[in-house]
Amino acid sequence: MAGTAVLGRLTWQPAELVEAIDETSRARTLVFDVPEWMQHRAGQHLDVRLTAEDGYRAERSYSIASAPGEPLAITVERLDDGEVSPYLVDELRPGDRIELRGPVGGYFVWEPDRGGPIFLAAGGSGVVPLMSMARTRALDGADVPARLLYSARTLDEVIYREELERLATEQPELDVVYTLTRGQPEGWTGYARRVDGELLAETAWPAHESPLAYVCGPTSFVEAVAEGLVGLGYPPKRVKTERFGATGGR
């Protein structure tokens, strides 16, 4: 889409929860039916609005997890001191309706015609928009070489683990590498530390292959990965970043 395209106003849309999938003990995928939803591009996000009985409202933004054309899904991680995420993870149930607005964001986006190779680096629930890209690639563009580096605290906190393993098995052009920073299962032979320059040098595409990198996670993770990739020779314009907002808010 041309950056100068003029869109009509994005309006709040009623959305019915049709399915909820527990991903980890703290994260849940919510699949919505939204009759008039405009198709998104992988990497975009949406706004959620909740309204209490007395009219009080709260709004937050969440990355879209599904590929364009699939039923619209977000994955939400519960923040214990959050206002909206505990409701979405623990309370909302199929048949309930909330309001959604979007899709939003035109920069942190990948479409198959952008090509690759692509390097996706996820810190924790930062995997969500990257999963939309991996799913998009699997549906349309599986010949684009892709690597996903996923940093999680423990294996139990890896979101989409079964699907990622299935995709990596089915698709020779997709590699998935984990690093577990807080605890590892017995016999773990993979990476077990925070991402650093050496780990990136071993997992990211060499800069001479002109890769496109997408990095999403908490600020410390994004800073480390983005600086590491620039250090490996990636032009800064080929490193797209997205960070979590306030830790206490979602």
Binding site: R9, R49, T219, P236, K237, T241, R243, G249
Partner: protein, 201 residues
């Protein structure tokens, strides 16, 4: 149309002053979240300059010259389009009024340009009369690179993407040229009290 979200109660504040200062759709945070589209640039101060480009010769300040200009210490509320707001943030910077007066330039629009290639567009009236600064300190400390240091634009009455990080200058223009986020789905003006978040708002 709106409707009740079953079982949602929300978390209210019992603070009418804070409520009155929080624009619609925002929530208050004590954190200072970081948002940027790419790697953080690190320009050494001896290679840093600030520039006003207009009809005449550009006016250029080195870091030392910039820091010799009179400064102000605004305490302001800031509002990010990703929905956090932060009250009473304390900055130090040079007023854009001061910079424009020194440069002697005038035009109806400006584009802020930055290390890393980021741009954002503003009407001149949104950066003059005490409404905008080039800030180099936050909370009494030099501005961290991840928050835009060595210097960022500070335009607190608009959504915070207008407060361009790593700013290196202002280009004065006769026409309004949409910047980075303004061509990527976000509103051209960005007034949080009007909820001008996205195209068409």
């Amino acid at each position: 149309m709106s409707f009740v979200s079953r079982g949602f109660r929300g978390r209210r504040r019992d603070d009418a002053d804070a409520d009155a200062r929080t624009p619609p759709g925002q929530y208050l945070t004590d954190d200072f979240p970081v948002l940027s589209a790419g790697p953080t640039p690190h320009t050494p101060l001896d290679r840093w300059s600030f520039e006003i480009r207009g009809a005449g010769e550009p006016k250029v300040w080195t870091w030392d010259e910039f820091r010799a200009l009179p400064t102000e210490k605004p305490t302001v509320d800031i509002h990010c389009v990703t929905r956090w707001s932060k009250l009473d943030t304390e900055w130090e910077g040079v007023s854009v009024d001061t910079l424009l007066a020194e440069a002697g330039e005038d035009a109806p629009f400006v584009v802020a340009f930055c290390d890393g290639g980021y741009t954002t567009n503003l009407a001149l009236e949104d950066v003059t009369d005490g409404k905008a600064w080039v800030a180099f300190a936050f909370d009494g400390e030099p501005l961290d690179p991840e928050h835009g240091g060595p210097a960022r634009l500070l335009v607190p009455h608009l959504y915070f993407w207008k407060s361009a990080k790593w700013v290196r200058g202002l280009q004065l223009r006769d026409d309004d040229e949409p910047g980075f986020w303004e061509t990527n789905g976000y509103h051209n003006h960005g007034d949080p009290w009007q909820e001008q978040r996205y195209w068409g708002d």
